[in-house]
Structures are given as structure tokens and as C-alpha cells.
Symmetry: C2
Subunit: 233 residues, 2 copies
């Protein structure tokens, strides 16, 4: 921890970069708040003097962004693990895994998603994770369960899941349901069906009461056909 790090050998200065990143991640995870992510604290934990951090990161923002890239990497890995099988079910599994990760790592998620992003473009790790989202959606478009531009649909679904977890993380005082698994089910199904429905809606809508009848009708119709599959988006 506080023990002074032994100086790296020639040509291995980049080793410190990894140790600094690891220290930063540990600080985030252990403290439970991003305020603990101080250049001084990171350096202390890495067993190195404060300005040494600047040998590998232009400024604090660059360090934080590097931490974020790791998190994007984990998210991307999460998606690849949950692909395969029925596309719509796979999409639901990805969404669930994403939400679970966010709720299990609220500080990391907050730093990743709720920080003013200074960088102008989408960094590679983020682009790759997003590409996986788009792929999962594209598979659904191929089976025609979703319709429209996969990128746009992916953004919509991402937004829906992100909305839930980010509000839950940032505004925990509101009357959220107790059962998180049920909540997850709710948001994933709601988002998935909203997306599936959207492109099929007519421009104008019948009044609320009549609309309710249509929806009931659809529900019973769907239940009649329903297989015994795992409930998912």
C-alpha cells in the first residue's frame, strides 16, 4: 500500500501505468465514491510520488478516462458472453447483464456514464462495446422481431436500460420496488417491447379507452401462442 515502490528497470517504465490504473480501480471500488479518486491517493496507493502519475497520464481526466476504458472493456465482454440462441432472448440477457453490472458497480458506472465527457469522439473500447449492442439488435432485425435502423434501435434500448439503472443509482430515495430482479424484468421487457412496437405504430392513435381494448386483445392473442420460454425481452 504505502510501501515505496521499487524503481522499474530500464524500458519497463510503462509497468507503473498498469499499477496506477489498478490503484485507481481499487480506490473507486473500496471507497464507494469517486471523490476518493485523487491523484495523490492513487499515487500513494501505487507507492509512488504524486507527480509520477503525470509520467503516464496527461492529467487527472486522462487517468479517469483510462479507468473508464477498462469498464467499457468489461461491458463489452459481458455482451459477447450473452449472445447466441434466440436473438430477442439474447438481447434480453445482454440487457439484464448490463443492468446487473451497473447496479453491482454503481461507482464505476457513475464515473463511466454520468461524467462530463471531455473527449470529442467515441473511444475504441466504447465503440467496440456499442458495436456488440448493435450486433445483438441486428440479429433481432433479421428475424423481424425488431424493425428499423439497428444503431438507432440499440441507442433506444441502451437508453431505456441506462435510464433505469442510472436513476436507481443517482436517486435511490424514490419509491423503487423492493425486488430488483422483478424490476430488471420490468425494464427489459418494457424496453424490448417498446422498441418492437414502435415501428409498427400508426401515426394517429385511438383514444385511451379504445387503445386499452386493443392492447388487451393483443395480450390474450400472444398468450395463446406463447411458448414456455424463459421470460425475457
Amino acid at each position: 500500500m504505502t510501501t515505496r515502490r521499487v524503481r522499474a528497470r530500464r524500458g519497463e517504465g510503462a509497468l507503473l501505468r498498469e499499477e496506477i490504473l489498478r490503484a485507481a480501480e481499487e480506490l473507486l471500488a473500496e471507497s464507494g465514491t469517486e471523490d476518493a479518486l485523487t491523484v495523490r491517493a492513487v499515487a500513494l496507493r501505487a507507492g509512488v510520488s504524486t507527480p509520477s502519475v503525470y509520467l503516464h497520464f496527461a492529467d487527472k481526466e486522462a487517468l479517469v478516462e483510462a479507468v473508464c476504458m477498462r469498464v467499457w472493456g468489461e461491458l463489452g465482454r459481458l455482451f459477447t458472453e450473452n449472445l447466441g440462441g434466440d436473438p430477442f432472448l439474447a438481447l434480453g440477457k445482454c440487457a439484464r447483464a448490463y443492468a446487473r453490472f451497473a447496479l453491482d458497480h454503481p461507482v464505476q458506472y457513475r464515473v463511466l456514464m454520468m461524467r462530463p465527457s471531455a473527449a470529442p469522439g467515441v473511444p475504441p473500447a466504447a465503440a467496440e462495446a456499442f458495436r456488440h449492442m448493435v450486433d445483438a439488435v441486428s440479429a433481432c432485425v433479421r428475424t423481424r422481431v425488431l424493425e428499423g435502423d439497428p444503431e438507432e434501435l440499440a441507442l433506444g434500448l441502451w437508453s431505456a436500460v441506462h435510464g433505469y439503472v442510472s436513476l436507481l443509482i443517482a436517486q435511490p430515495a424514490f419509491p423503487w420496488p423492493r425486488d430488483r430482479e422483478a424490476l430488471l424484468d420490468h425494464v427489459v421487457r418494457q424496453a424490448g417491447f417498446g422498441a418492437a412496437m414502435y415501428s409498427r405504430l400508426p401515426r394517429g392513435l385511438p383514444p385511451s379507452t379504445e387503445l386499452a381494448a386493443c392492447l388487451d386483445d393483443f395480450g390474450t392473442r400472444l398468450a395463446a401462442r406463447g411458448g414456455g420460454e424463459h421470460p425475457s425481452a
Copy 2:
């Protein structure tokens, strides 16, 4: 601005509180970043010495929270303005107004929604705004276009809209569609129909291809009945 404020008369010390809050709001709006919201900057703008801020706010967090209460107030007012008429359409109008406000005031929205909330409970202004959301949803439940617990449904719809605007604000680098109005339409309809559909879904789902057929069927059925109403959630 920098001109020294004349000292308040006896018993009117609370006037400074208002001026400090106004200075803080102006700083947020004009600078475009929450980093400019410094106790020193606020005090300077209010024409007062820095520690004078602490006469009216326990710490910086309390000041920021007071600013947030103002924003909650504006959001609550926005909801009341958009109620009335067909409940489902009114809900859509509220959602649209909410999203527009967020996109028009990204800094305020970020401070309001993406900041680690230190306070344990829901503050009154936030509770009131949320009550308006729940009321709008309750009206939809009464016409049976939505089904379920209004609070839970409101949280779901709020999450959906929040997800879109907060991602758009925090991650602007992703390939968002150009047309913001169309995007708004998309998210509002997606969220609304997702919520309307959720409670009517059977536990198990048919495979993707068959599900697609069901959805198509519902779309045409709905279009056949559709009135010429304004397109909305």
C-alpha cells in the same frame, strides 16, 4: 457583479440567500459547466465575501441542493401545464416537455440527476414533481390504457425518458440521430407502449419470428381503428 453588495438591514439577512441562489443559477447557466459553480465565484457574483455563503448554506452541497430544488420546481410546473385532455396524450406531452427541458438545460439537468445525492430522503420539491408524474399515470390507469401500480409505472416511464436525455447529454459522441424531435417521438412512444404492453405480456414468449408476426398483426389492427390524433405516447 463584482460591486460590493450593500449590507442588508436588520432582520433581512435572508435576502442574501436569494441573491446567492440567483448568482449560482446564473453561473451554471452562463458557464455551461458545473465546475464553474464555486463557492468563491458565487460569493463574488453576489457581491459578498466568500464565507458569507456559509451564513445561509451549511456547505457547498447544501447550496447545490437548493439550486436543485429550484429546478425540481420548474419541472413540477412543467407537468401541471401539460395535464388535461386524453390521459395517454397528456402523459406524452409531459414526457416531451420534460425531455425538452433537460436538453435545453443540460447543465442544470446534470446537476439535478447525475450528482451523488447525499440527502437521505426525497426533498419536498422533488416529491411534488414526482407526484405529478404519478397523477398523470394514474389517469391512464383509470382509462385502463395502463395497468399496474401507478408509482411503479411512473418510475418506469421516467426512467425511459431520463435514459434518453441523460445519455444524450453525457455521451454526445455516440451516433445519435440528427432530428431531435423525431428522437423524442421515438423515445416517448417506445416508453409509453412498453409500459402499456408490459402488464399484458404472458410469462413465456414465442420465438422471435413468430413474435414478429404477432406484432405485425397488432400494428395493422391498430391502424385500422386509429383516429387522426396527434402522434404521441
